[in-house]
């Protein structure tokens, strides 16, 4: 077969074909569950918390009430420092809707100190340029003032270079 089926349209041509339009109008509210509720409430206090599994010995962060490997309940709450290590990063010129932005969003994965290997979260970097972010760099959370905290991951503004 030489020609495969289908008729490609340009953006302009697309506007001229017969169309029906619709916008969804729905809202969601999620129950956060036991582990995430405690995690978010601790963020409000400026603290990071994980869960320890006594069977495999892992400190799980972000916390879970069950260990997905041992498939048993996790055993205890463990406070963790608000410092960690840069596992990977990006400087994004795209916002969430793929709009182009000129000031890049610095984002990465931070493995939190005191948790088991590779236990990281995604977050922003600040108080440094894209060129200053490196693999293995030690970083520390910068918290919003207590009054502005709402119990959200955004209670941490970003992670900044750790001054030893």
């Amino acid at each position: 077969m030489e020609k495969y089926p289908g008729e490609a349209l340009s953006l302009e041509e697309m506007k001229k074909v017969t169309q029906e339009k619709w916008s969804p109008r729905v809202k969601y509210a999620w129950s956060c569950g036991e582990a995430m509720s405690r995690f978010l409430n601790e963020l409000k206090k400026g603290k990071l918390i994980g869960r320890k599994c006594h069977t495999c010995g892992r400190v799980i962060f972000p916390p879970k009430m069950f260990c997905e490997i041992c498939f048993k309940p996790t055993d205890e709450w463990v406070y963790l420092p608000d410092t960690g290590t840069v596992m990977t990063y990006s400087a994004s010129y795209l916002d969430k809707d793929a709009n182009r932005i000129t000031e890049p969003i610095l984002v990465g994965v931070i493995a939190i100190d005191g948790a088991s290997e590779d236990m990281g979260i995604m977050h922003y970097f600040g108080e440094m340029t894209a060129d200053e972010i490196t693999f293995g760099k030690k970083v520390q959370a910068v918290w919003k003032p207590e009054k502005e905290r709402t119990g959200s991951v955004t209670d941490i503004k970003w992670f900044k270079p750790l001054k030893e």
């Binding site: 289908g6 999620w30 990977t88 990006s90 994965v109 995604m122 693999f135």
Partner: protein, 384 residues
């Protein structure tokens, strides 16, 4: 377990926007597959539909919506969906319908129409992030790929210019594909000078959103020979998924792809994938992903895929041609419908029906797809 062969395939062109509706795209791909197999819809007893997030089309229960175009009405029908992994999981589901002995002839149809979501389908991708840990940070899906690519480059000390060679190769291969959306002769410099989207991902490192559909027909051994004298047998299948918590693993190596590949190779009796496989279609939504997945498919050692590419091993006339179709980078990335450049391509290659894209003397091939939140791998090995 029944021995199962693919006896026909079809696909639409891939385009940023297609005039056809989802149902019409499915119909066109199915017609093409039926014509290749010289079958009619009445010869099909089961139908599998693969299609990815409902949010793109804005239609929930999309599998049901597409039913008529898939030829599934009043038949045994189901939809499967594992994000980008659907492109190979859907034909695996077709295989298990037949291998189980439940079906004589199963039709698999994959569809995606991303253009219905405007101004950009990226807005619909926002719905896949964790609502508590990730969505408050307003992430863009490209971010995680950028972070994975960066980690992969860092661990193996791989240069961007070596990764760019994948994009150059696949977009060039796509010049020979009638469905191609982004076929082009480009250079490494074109990739390196293209717009930075989320470092290290640049515009020409990435495949486009697309509309498209693809279809495949699988049949049981005792009816295969009445349909065709050129069947392509499914010899091995595998699939595996890692945790949604992608921040809780080292991203440099896709262990879940390796597990899926080992499952498929064990079934196919493949002990040395590099030597035993003649043609491969690893999932390539980004240029680094082809390399990442070659390593996940155990086609080379960890960190070696970029060198193989540089040495020309993965060109169509090399020892291990990868993405001879032009892949997602060159032909397009209509999520589930990428079956057309993965499973369908390996079928056409092994049946000797790949036209200008034909890899000489290809007897054993592997295709793979990848998806969900950087956590899913599906693998199929076929032999002629």
């Amino acid at each position: 377990m029944e021995h199962v062969a693919c006896v026909g395939a079809g696909m639409t062109i891939f385009s940023r926007r297609l005039k056809e509706t989802g149902k019409e795209m499915c119909y066109e791909a199915v017609r093409m597959a039926l014509e290749e197999a010289e079958l009619e819809l009445k010869d099909i007893d089961t139908v599998v539909c693969g299609t990815a997030p409902d949010a793109f089309d804005g239609i929930h229960m999309k599998g049901e919506n597409l039913l008529d175009g898939c030829g599934g009405s009043k038949k045994t029908y189901m939809r499967v969906f594992t994000g980008g992994g659907t492109g190979v999981l859907a034909p695996i589901a077709g295989w298990w319908h037949v291998a189980s002995g439940l079906s004589d002839v199963c039709l698999v149809v994959c569809e995606e129409k991303m253009s219905s979501c405007f101004p950009h389908p990226q807005s619909a991708f926002a719905h896949i992030w964790d609502p508590i840990l990730e969505r408050p940070l307003n992430p863009n899906l490209v971010w995680i790929f950028a972070m994975e690519m960066n980690r992969y480059m860092h661990v193996h000390n791989i240069k961007k210019e070596d990764i760019a060679l994948v994009s150059v190769k696949n977009k060039k291969n796509a010049l020979d594909h009638p469905s191609a959306q982004l076929a082009a002769n480009i250079t490494v410099d074109d990739v390196l000078n293209s717009e930075v989207m989320a470092w290290p991902v640049q515009r020409l490192d990435i495949s486009p959103p697309s509309d498209g559909a693809a279809a495949m027909i699988f049949a049981r051994e005792d009816v295969v020979h009445s349909i065709t004298d050129n069947p392509v047998w499914v010899e091995g299948v595998g699939w595996c998924i890692d945790s949604t918590m992608w921040t809780n693993r080292d991203l440099y190596f896709p262990q879940y792809v390796a597990k899926a590949a080992k499952m498929a190779y064990r079934m196919a009796g493949i002990h040395n994938p590099f030597k035993d496989i003649d043609v491969a279609e690893p999932y390539d939504p980004f240029d680094y992903k082809e390399l990442h997945h070659m390593e996940g498919l155990l086609l080379c050692k960890k960190g070696e895929a970029a060198n193989l590419t540089k040495e020309g091993v993965t060109q169509r006339d090399g020892d291990l041609p990868t993405c001879p179709s032009g892949g997602l980078l060159g032909v397009g990335n209509p999520i589930a419908a990428t079956m057309g450049v993965k499973a369908c391509e390996i079928y056409w290659q092994l049946a000797g029906k790949a036209g200008k894209r034909q890899v000489p003397d290809a007897r054993t091939g592997v295709c793979q797809a990848w998806g969900d939140l950087m956590q899913y791998g599906s693998v199929m090995v076929m032999r002629s």
